[in-house]
């Protein structure tokens, strides 16, 4: 999932004020942001109450099943037609916010910070697991991503700073290359592919179309 964190309330209030917004729509997301506890029904309701205390009027509320889906966003926002709105405050990851911005002509305000793609360890505990590099090597590395989980992103084994299985950069964490070896040895895949993995340069990407 895409992991998000709530923005500080003051930051949101400041930006709403600076844009002279009074009548506000709050949009949540029924997918990742709901799972992250940052943009579901509950959080939309909470933020709505908090903003009312600051004197804003919450004129429209909706939790889109998937805020980053264009058709779903258009459908949901149609329901706001006829309501006088100054802006859309969106509680979703950055893709959701941008998707909303694509389909309306009002100011869009990001209510969350998007932090990474990761897993939920326990409710509220998330770990970064993937950088969406576009060239997945997990089948070679025991299902553990060194590009994401090694602070240096090295691709061929532990760096010289590995210490008793722990990471040079953070001694409280395991060296991910030690973990990869343990996993591969467990599965009797002793031969680790010699890696000349491509390192892709980041550029805007799309799939299909």
């Amino acid at each position: 999932m895409v992991v998000t964190e709530k923005k500080n309330l003051n930051e949101i209030v400041q930006i709403l004020k600076s844009l002279n917004c009074r009548n506000i729509a709050i949009i949540g997301c029924g997918s990742c942001a709901t799972l992250a506890g940052t943009g579901g029904e509950k959080e939309v309701e909470e933020l709505s109450n908090l903003l009312k205390n600051f004197g804003f009027s919450i004129a429209f509320k909706s939790v889109i099943d998937t805020a980053c889906h264009e058709r779903l966003a258009i459908k949901s926002i149609k329901e706001a037609r006829g309501i006088s709105l100054d802006c859309f405050l969106v509680l979703s990851c950055g893709s959701g916010v941008q998707n909303i911005a694509d389909v309306i002509d009002k100011p869009v305000i990001a209510g969350l910070n998007t932090v990474f793609i990761g897993k939920t360890k326990r409710p509220g505990i998330f770990l970064e697991y993937c950088q969406s590099c576009g060239d997945c090597i997990l089948s070679e590395t025991g299902g553990i991503c060194p590009k994401t989980r090694c602070p240096k992103g090295v691709l061929n084994g532990p760096c010289g700073g590995m210490h008793k299985g722990k990471c040079e950069v953070d001694e409280t964490k395991d060296c991910i290359w030690v973990k990869i070896h343990e996993k591969l040895n467990l599965n009797e895949r002793r031969k680790i592919r010699f890696s000349n993995f491509e390192i892709l340069n980041r550029k805007p990407r799309s799939v299909g179309g």
């Binding site: 240096k152 090295v154 691709l155 061929n156 532990p158 010289g160 040079e168 290359w177 070896h181 010699f194």
Partner: protein, 290 residues
């Protein structure tokens, strides 16, 4: 003449030492040390922003060393430069007479004096070795022909006492397969452990140069144990330094006796004196090498 190549080719016991460039442009102290070391050592490693502390560049340090009559081993880390910068620096270095490189991943900037620096790591040490090999073969890493190839002797690092050891040995093997021909090891204090590693290393046709640290004070021991990634000083050594009337002399004695013992186990020694380089020669003398 490349003394390192000569020592490797002739099967001589290889002597190398490490020298860090100054933080600033005043190279007088560096030059004094470079001159002393040059006549005794087959190669002198010039560090590349060691421990992620910003200093005069390794390339410039190597040039100063050449002028002092020494044989440089240019340390190249993947931390500060991407593949374009690394390759162009390597071409530049070779064109200026630098013929030996040590390819390293590099300590994370987090430990240095610019902890906010962007950590590059566009390549890792294994990839860097294969890049240097291809420059030696007259091609850059994307296969474009070079007008004039390099002819570097490619070195790499290994930690013979890493725990766990298996991932380290696997990486060592990748480094050999990628083109490294000599290895300088993390500092060793226990020759028995080195013997153990050599059983594995001897399967490959590469030179193993054992790292020997010259300790000079209790403070230095404490600092290393707390701050240097991947390096532990055993308790027995720490106690000896603490008990000694003269910690610096004890450090020299420990290093010299290690060099003596390692002589029959490995292909050479690499002395790391961290600031006290003028004492490297004393270690060799005490060990009966010069």
């Amino acid at each position: 003449m490349n003394k390192l190549r000569d020592a490797i080719d002739k099967g001589k016991f290889i002597l190398t030492a490490e020298l860090g460039p100054p933080k600033g442009t005043d190279v007088s102290n560096f030059m004094n040390k470079a001159e002393i070391l040059s006549s005794y050592f087959d190669g002198i490693n010039i560090t590349d922003n060691q421990s992620a502390v910003m200093r005069l560049s390794s390339l410039a340090g190597c040039l100063h060393l050449l002028r002092a009559g020494g044989t440089p081993i240019m340390q190249v880390t993947c931390r500060d430069r991407n593949r374009l910068a690394i390759q162009s620096d390597l071409l530049g270095a070779y064109s200026l007479g630098i013929e030996n490189v040590l390819a390293l991943t590099g300590d994370h900037p987090r430990f240095g004096d610019h902890p906010q620096a962007k950590a590059v790591y566009d390549l890792d040490s294994v990839q860097l070795i294969s890049v240097i090999k291809s420059l030696n073969e007259g091609q850059d890493m994307v296969g474009k022909q070079l007008k004039g190839a390099t002819n570097f002797i490619i070195g790499a690092a290994v930690s013979p006492i890493a725990v766990p050891l298996e991932p380290e040995l696997s990486k060592f093997e990748k480094k050999v397969l990628s083109g490294a021909t000599f290895f300088q090891t993390q500092a060793v204090f226990e020759p028995e452990k080195m013997e153990n590693f050599m059983k594995f290393a001897r399967k490959f046709n590469v030179k193993i140069i054992a790292g020997v640290l010259i300790l000079k004070s209790v403070r230095m021991v404490e600092f290393i144990n707390a701050n240097v990634p991947g390096l532990d000083i055993p308790e027995s050594v720490e106690v000896a330094i603490r008990k000694a009337d003269d910690a610096e002399e004890e450090g020299i004695r420990i290093a010299a006796s290690l060099v003596k013992e390692l002589r029959d186990i490995v292909d050479g020694v690499h002395l790391m004196a961290i600031g006290n380089e003028h004492r490297c020669v004393d270690v060799l003398e005490k060990a009966g090498i010069v």
